[in-house]
Symmetry: D2
């Protein structure tokens, strides 16, 4: 198998999510990182490139130049990973799409609706692929849950409870990660953008249901912070299902507690990202079952997304790697990539952010989703 | 120690909660059941009395007669337990209060606001005590949590998440318990009355915070059912805290999953009724601790509400028994009964039911609590 | 239903297990405590009797007198609970059996084999019943597990892992409970007697298998202590099954961690006393199921030993109460009491203690069970 | 950073552990796989090499040739991973060591003591490094536990309980993995070699204590199987500590349940490989704490072995990758590799296997460790 060539925009020294993307790209051996515009600071860009084994001539100071030159090379990159802060997604994403290069972009799509719309135009007019790394969709048991629901094993869905709780912004922390995430000009939103969109995407992905309306009570508990750090949201989904999302970055004791519970009229599932190798499944009237990633009780098909036997835990990085693996297969033509979040999921996330903000400004009144 | 004498209205053969009250009253040996109007059916009342060892002359066909005669006896009952369906609370409660007999009433207070107001008048004008059995407040770790919050160990409270999920009404079940609980004339409300009031009471009891406003999205998922079986509720609490309640009786896989999570700016607690002997406690920045009922790490004071050493689990019945034990101490004058839910908690619960129903009818708009 | 009359030997002020027996006897309302020789100290005996509502004329200074007089009364006790330290079991047990009064005795049977043999003679020659309170056999899911194994749901049993770990004797604690339990003249053994016999009884009760041989490595970690505080034991059971018991009172962090795991060639169960309302059950190749006490998935039969619905946790006291309830039914003739531990289980426990001590003295060599 | 060059012996198509080693080597980007003798079948070797991107001229039919030629190349491999069945460890390990090439060998060291001794001679006489992949030592919380014990946070160690339970050999399964592991000529031992050595290594690594003696009761439950599939082992450790190991491959419901519990006179830890991001830690008298991988409560030092923040679970592959990362640092001279299992741990594992087999043949009598 020939490896694909990956470029990266952002992710230089001191960054967080860029390193995660790189590990995710390495795990299954389908990608080589060969080019980058790793920082807007030229010296940091160059030093980061050396550290990552990127040849100097493929370390760029600007993403525009990188898009042009890589598109022109015979051995140019097959895809670029965009791992900059939210307000810096649109520029490189559009540049690479316009240059015909596939884009793997971190979430949420953008810091503003305008940026998002511009990206959507670029996606719609480019032949290149666009993938948004809602990485939690890569967990094998999440994909299992989606299939079980699609097969009707839970019956008609009634209630969806999603939570994403962290505590790292409990106080007025100052560091590189906190700074841009709490600057509305860079992030576009607080907890609802950074983690709420993950929860919303996950419940949509697994339930298969669109959201018809939501109401949201956003709040900021830390004095002086300019974005929401806690969000309470009610949802009305297609088919009459009801839902709730709680997203918080001030929930003391919660590290990265993303949980999803879905109740139908025949069964239910419950999953928690912090122990992602198990999922509870209950058929009404029967004992709750503990499904395990790769477990023999799931049959062979669950093995598609796992590397090692049940009981040998896979984690966040392997789930993320499933997106990079799927992306490689999609780009190389060996898969149709139907499970990969694309521009529709991305725009849905932008609607979610805007709807939460609009609802909250209007005393948590309902905001309807016209696209539904 | 002289045992107190207990009477009971309701709780004849085939009833559920009456039997629970009787065990709770027996556990600590402070009560003897000596009188009853156990059923509106005279034959069932008599047969039930025989089974329970109640003397025939103290088995009554009517609660009115019972209230009069017990009040007149020198060895009359010290308190009566009202364990009838909700629409039958007001009659006996008022009769016994007016007769000067202490009342221990099951929750919620009544099926209608009118009944509730009438009870309140009776409580206010009687010298007898009134206790509402929000039994979950009797769990030792719940009382521990309340004290920790009162002492400031969690700092200023920011977020309160309460859930009460069951699945026994997932289908259109027909039985004695389901029938009256889903008949609005008898229950006054569905999930919000039967279990939502417990969740609301518990979060108020533990947090010490009043609720300023709520919005609620009530729904009935089972065709033909006339009351809500699922409720999604947002709360705004005193001091700026935010909250959420989810109450459902159609949550497949949930038996009696009452959970409470409270987050302050310094710490948090998490507790689940199905494993009530443990509670998580996290100080911001420190490792989560597992507090245990009666655990030596809690010091001696937690022993006030426990009977056996840590690791020897107490359960629902012992928590319930703490209310009967406290009630005995209050009535016999050896305690001030400050932890016992009384008429204020009862009226608060009635406000909760009415506010949820009003909000939901008005598309989940906010309903404010004038008493706050 | 007429209540039975209970007497008690031991259990005066300051004692522990006597109070547990009393609550257990009260829970189901089948017993009234009417007589006692509650302490060898006459003043404490009298004061304790007053506190417990025992009439002065039925508060005895000596168990011998109590046995004679209660046997002679028309309204004499139906059974006596023996809740003294181990070395004080034989005297009263034999006296009451000889007087024709049923005995409910705490475990282990005795501090010495001689005492045990003497009790066995008394049991064999008396028409009165003898029950040993291996209370953990009263947990509903333990009885469920026993039935599942008897029905063959686990297939042929291969491996049994039992543990009973506590930490209250981690240091050289001095108090009433610790003092007699660590005095070999009063207890006869340390951890193996106090808790090891529970673990051994439980695995025998649930698996239905006798033990053919064991080897044991007993140890005392606390300087100056005269009995074992930690025991590692290997077992060979009937039919070729293998087992392990670990009993420790110096296992920091363990409150009362009694766990039982049984593996057959078709399935397995796992249960932990600290959360006794759940039991894992796995059929080979299928997902693990979480069985719950009273769960609808267990069918009606599990309700025999529960009082309240699933999700409403019962605990240690209710499990203990099942023994008192069964004892009442046995004595009143409404049940055959087949689940109650009797003299055979008691003698088996004495063999276990003696075999562990003999094996350990002989460098953990195997000791065979001649009765098997 | 310049990547190191890795070769591999074994691990062709259809193999299991070879793929795990390759992912582990890729995760941190410190290794490139450039050479291999991937199968004893030349066609499979070649095809596997193509699939893995190994140049044809560096795909060898024999490990002897590979060792010679790679040692001779200027760009020869920095290390070789030996991932063959146990009986095929000694040949390539010795060949590469003698050629001066560092060896990373899967466990256990060998199928026979003779092979093990021969490897030891080669290690002792070679300048090349030797690493045995007891991969569970790579889990961050395991290393944390080791440091806590070394710092005295648990006090003097008293009891060590280790278990490694699986169920994949419950029946007489026939497949590539089962076949060689149950063939004594290829594996040298059953459960004690395949998983028991992991448990033994882990308890030694974390506790820091040597084993003075053990007794073992090995058994094979599946008819016709020629190696043990269940082992019950008692241990006596340095300093008077006592231990137990249970290793089983017929424990229905256990996927890869490796657990370690260590009790000292001041504290204890408990860890389970299936949820490796959490570890319980109890100081005597205090509440149990839940330590988390990378948790801020651990201070910065725990970050040495983690890649992503707490709550983002790492798993088996990341733990394994820590060994490859450490190996790269050791070989490149940037670390002393003190945490890496080497020939001493390997020989200790061989003693464990031999001692278990000798003890079990002699009715589970004690076997002493002369090296202690």
């Amino acid at each position: 198998m020939k490896k694909l060539k990956l470029g990266m925009v952002g992710g230089g020294k001191g960054a967080f999510i860029g390193g995660v993307h790189r590990i995710a790209a390495r795990i299954d051996g389908k990608w080589d990182l060969v080019a980058g515009a790793l920082s807007s600071n030229p010296e940091r860009a160059a030093a980061s490139a050396v550290e990552l084994g990127i040849a100097p001539e493929r370390s760029y100071d600007s993403f525009e130049v990188m898009a042009q030159q890589e598109a022109a090379r015979e051995d140019g990159i097959d895809a670029v990973a965009i791992v900059t802060p939210n307000h810096m997604h649109a520029g490189p994403t559009i540049a690479f799409l316009n240059a015909g290069i596939n884009v793997i972009c971190d979430k949420p799509l953008a810091a503003t609706q305008e940026d998002a719309e511009a990206i959507k135009v670029a996606v719609d007019t480019s032949k290149a692929k666009f993938i948004l790394t809602h990485n939690y969709t890569g967990y094998p048991l999440i994909r299992q849950a989606r299939e079980m629901i699609a097969r009707g094993e839970l019956g008609k869905i009634r209630v969806v409870q999603a939570e994403y709780a962290q505590d790292w912004l409990t106080e007025d922390t100052q560091n590189k990660q906190a700074d841009w995430r709490t600057d509305p000009n860079m992030s576009g939103a607080g907890a609802i953008g950074d983690i709420g969109t993950h929860a919303f995407n996950l419940l949509s992905f697994v339930s298969g249901l669109g959201t018809e309306a939501l109401c949201a009570d956003l709040h900021c508990f830390v004095d002086g912070r300019k974005v929401d750090d806690n969000a309470h949201i009610l949802l009305r989904l297609e088919g009459g299902a009801k839902g709730m999302i709680w997203a918080s970055q001030v929930a003391v004791g919660c590290e990265n507690s993303l949980t999803l519970r879905i109740y139908g009229d025949k069964g239910s599932i419950e999953w928690n990202q912090e122990n992602p190798n198990q999922m509870s499944f209950t058929r009404f009237g029967a004992a709750t079952q503990i499904l395990t990633r790769g477990g023999s009780h799931l049959g062979d098909e669950n093995d598609r997304w796992t590397r090692i036997p049940p009981g040998h835990p896979e984690g966040y990085l392997e789930g993320f790697a499933n997106l990079y693996s799927d992306a490689a297969d999609l780009i190389s033509g060996s898969s149709d990539g139907l499970l990969l979040p694309g521009i529709d999921a991305a725009m849905n996330g932008m609607w979610f952010i805007a709807a939460c903000q609009a609802s909250s400004k209007n005393d948590a009144s309902w905001v309807h989703n016209k696209s539904n």
